[in-house]
Symmetry: C2
Subunit: 246 residues, 2 copies
């Protein structure tokens, strides 16, 4: 079966790049990752209301709740609902956060995208590039908030691009709009180097548009399914970040 043979050649790549708002030491965005107990992995990206330490506490709380449920095998939609209920109870409906969950589910062999955010998620697959932009509520405020969920089959040359609102809002203060769709389309048309290269390209452009001083926390998450590029069957994880001075 040739399709299965294609599958065997697939590589999953994740690339994340984050900066905090200019002149704040701490990003209010939190990104966490966990292995799914049945196989695959889940990535959770949360943008806490406001910025700095207060936002960080909120995003950390929400991400931790979602991650701990996903680690126990709870399905993504239920984890997002629970994170909402938890934040709303904990902060009495006074504080909001955006929540995105992107999972590679090896049981269903799908990529599951959960949005609780006004920001679109961009997808590239065999149908081309499109924005997932159905109306979707941030969590923490209203009763019974639920995520908008999209499932994509595992297939080669699938790209999922998620970001917090500091990214599409980049340049706004200077009267310039960020054409993220254009950047992604050009990247993919040029052969698409890697998930981390795309995340870096988007973040770099966003920071440029804010003239080097990000006006908000900015996080970009890219998950890609690409043709397998190494034959050694190893899993690899890399993290790099500058250490704040003491």
């Amino acid at each position: 079966m040739p399709e299965q043979r294609d599958d065997a050649q697939l590589e999953m790549q994740v690339g994340v790049a984050k900066v905090s708002k200019y002149a704040t030491s701490e990003s209010g965005d939190t990104l966490e990752m966990i292995e799914r107990p049945q196989g695959g992995l889940s990535l959770v990206l949360v943008d806490g209301q406001r910025s700095g330490r207060a936002a960080k506490l909120i995003s950390n709380l929400v991400a931790r709740k979602a991650i701990s449920l996903l680690a126990e095998g709870v399905r993504d939609g239920a984890a997002a609902r629970a994170a909402h209920d938890y934040l709303r109870t904990h902060r009495q409906g006074q504080v909001s956060a955006t929540l995105n969950i992107v999972s590679l589910d090896l049981v269903t062999r799908t990529v599951v995208i959960s949005r609780n955010s006004h920001c679109p998620v961009l997808v590239v697959d065999k149908d081309g590039l499109r924005a997932l932009a159905e109306p979707s509520q941030a969590i923490g405020i209203y009763a019974r908030t639920k995520p908008v969920i999209t499932e994509l089959p595992v297939a080669v040359n699938t790209w999922v691009i998620v970001f917090t609102d500091g990214v599409p809002d980049a340049g706004r203060r200077f009267g310039v709009a960020f054409d993220i769709m254009g950047l992604v389309a050009a990247f993919v048309a040029n052969g698409g180097d890697s998930a981390s290269a795309l995340a870096d390209a988007i973040l770099t452009r966003a920071v440029e548009l804010d003239q080097g001083h990000p006006q908000d926390d900015m996080s970009v998450l890219v998950l890609a399914l690409v043709p397998g590029q190494r034959i050694d069957n190893a899993r690899r994880l890399t993290v790099r970040f500058p250490l704040p001075s003491s």
Copy 2:
């Protein structure tokens, strides 16, 4: 204060590379990472007894417990003790696992290394290369097992190298010993490219020594504090792994 200025230039790097035992589809080793609520991050590496699915379930259980406690701000030594108690209770003292926790703690500005494993942890710092190899018990079996903890100050050119026993045992079946200390010494003497390059070099050599067919699950985790190499102040995360065929 020149020391603080040095600090401002530091970059933290993590590199992880993992393969599963030859002809098993699933590694019994689990590696998870979490942001510490007070700043910094923790990495948890668990090797479950036996291999394949049974080992994976155990290592997943232990890693999840440790990660969820660390995410709540529980100190590393207490998280390791709790993971032990949890596994011993859950599996009635019948199943063991090795547990390593490596944390960059930005409150104490130290690297905290917790060992519950017969495998040494290698450290390179201003005093050179050495093995942390005090007797240390795997978790899950005996009453009151506790970790052996080492704290290193945050300082430039610090390298911490952690691995599961498939790595030092590589080559044994073919009557060859793996001189990991020699490999690390040469790597650092050559200027030390990056944490991921060192993790890859160790794993590649281990797989070679097992003649391309790893005789056990193998995982290598490297945490490095090196001179800052990028000026954009971004945090970056990269994951790559081959997708199992359906």
